[in-house]
Symmetry: C2
Subunit: 367 residues, 2 copies
Amino acid sequence: MTVGIVGGGQLARMMALAGYRLGLDFLSLDKDPCTPAAQVAPALSGSFTDPTLLDELAHRSEVVTFDWENVPLESLDRIAGRVRIAPPREAPAAARDRLNEKTLFDALRIPTNRHAAVDSEADLAAAVSRLGLPGVLKTRSLGYDGKGQFVLRKPADIAAAWARLGSNAPLLYEEFVPFDYEVSIIGVRGRDGAIRTWPLNRNLHADGVLRLTRAPWRAPALEAAAVRHVRRVLKHFDYVGVLTIEFFVRRGRLLANEMAPRVHNSGHWTIEGAMTSQFENHVRAILGLPLGDTAPRGHSAMINLLGTMPPREALLAEKSLFLHDYGKEPRPGRKLGHCTLVAASAAERDRRAASLLRRLDSRKIAG
Amino acid sequence: MTVGIVGGGQLARMMALAGYRLGLDFLSLDKDPCTPAAQVAPALSGSFTDPTLLDELAHRSEVVTFDWENVPLESLDRIAGRVRIAPPREAPAAARDRLNEKTLFDALRIPTNRHAAVDSEADLAAAVSRLGLPGVLKTRSLGYDGKGQFVLRKPADIAAAWARLGSNAPLLYEEFVPFDYEVSIIGVRGRDGAIRTWPLNRNLHADGVLRLTRAPWRAPALEAAAVRHVRRVLKHFDYVGVLTIEFFVRRGRLLANEMAPRVHNSGHWTIEGAMTSQFENHVRAILGLPLGDTAPRGHSAMINLLGTMPPREALLAEKSLFLHDYGKEPRPGRKLGHCTLVAASAAERDRRAASLLRRLDSRKIAG
């Protein structure tokens, strides 16, 4: 039984590695022939919108999923009706547009920061006047890791912001939220409507890229609110598979930042740190299999390995560390792998994660 | 960096799945083109002794290992000197011959049952006279899962036993040991000589095939003795990789039954039940990487799935059960997969394993 994946990145790779255990086969489609997924499973190589490749993917797969929210909707539309697709196309359609996403959060009574659509410099001036400063002008789609954003601090910044991003309109202006920290919640919904959520993640970003996730993050009131929110989104889409919402935490309250209709970097710790990983439960969900237990196993810290891979020897010498190398070529800032520490207590986890981060940053872990 | 494996069964498959996480590649060689390993990694298909295929395996691999003790020694000899081979050939050479194995146990002061070489019917009569009855006449090599054995209970059985197995001489006669239960110990030795052992396994066989392993099995004196024994064997061979010894337990003492110079069915629980699995540590060892922590995570029970695969849905609905499906065609008695239960206590593990075994045997878990 084959699971088709549009996209062949590390998320697809980890889905395949989780599903192999269950006796499943995988087939990915990606423009790059040497993706992380293609190194561990059969792959089709070519344009994401190539009708012949899409037809082959549909023909050979029991179900087709995707590993990123910017999956071309026309690709899903091409194969719809011939093969089951999960998650539903409406989820990536909403998640790729920041305005639609915010509108959905508002409609589902999920708190988010105030925002306004901006299609012209006049719209921007009006938005700044209504929402105040500081604020952030953002592209509505295809921005990630801090790209496609402009922070406005004073009225004179309006012209500069428009000059920088105006050609990418339609845009979005958001009030700037000075948050205390960031968390995310990951949920999975089965074909039968059953929902499970993993414990709350506390996330640390650096230069717009996730650096560290600690879970379970014990904050019962926040977790209860996050679970309510993700359940609403899952039900709204009649969703099947894994979905993630990232939140800012400000004065003990959640503000939804964005959602991802897929397995998520902040859930990588679940491979060793939970009874069932996000990858296995995503595969179970889209195949209509019973969902697995999402209870934690110990206290986990996940650290992304960016830019250059530290030497295997140094990382493998760390106690109770699980190394994941995605098989990617090094490139500045690129996510090449991650490692998960599993500790007996939250305090031990935090201490060990801080120590490992310091040594990675200072290159004391080097060849 | 590619690990070559002579053999493509489930053990090779699970090595690949463990090593993929570390960013490694795998290449197996097997006569069957559709092995469990070939379903998840590149494979060479043809005779184990085909010089062209062996040369290709050596050329493409950083290190070559094997997934069964009856690996043709001529295959290893063909590639020796051109690629590193681990474990050392002397280990499978000894393990495949029951007499050599017993002689080694004696030499290393590892208690085993009394035995005698049998090359003729007269030898058998002499052995029966010296060691007594009951006893077991066995082929010296290539026997497994109870095949190639004859139990003698009275002097008149000598002729019948010889008639059945004489054509397979040289043979071995062993005293019959009425044991209380069976255990096994799994150890790993790195290139630098570092040794680690996993907690003791208690094993239950049915019809000569492993059915259930529970670990850690708390029996400190037995475990200490088993660890001493496996360390001696590992050092004797200047071994690199994972090695297993199975023991009978009789009146609180160990009697070595056999050894396997490879990852072992009784260690499958380590995938989820230990900080580092036997598969990952085997791969680490043969590549000269630091060995990982072998401490247990919870209390595990591993149950083999034999003959026909129970429906995925039923198994996945069990709490804290990890399913492994090797992708093999059903055949009576064949090992098609296994599942590991991980519990918070030994008592809970034992209760749940017994319940699951009952339901599997009575086919209450069925489609």
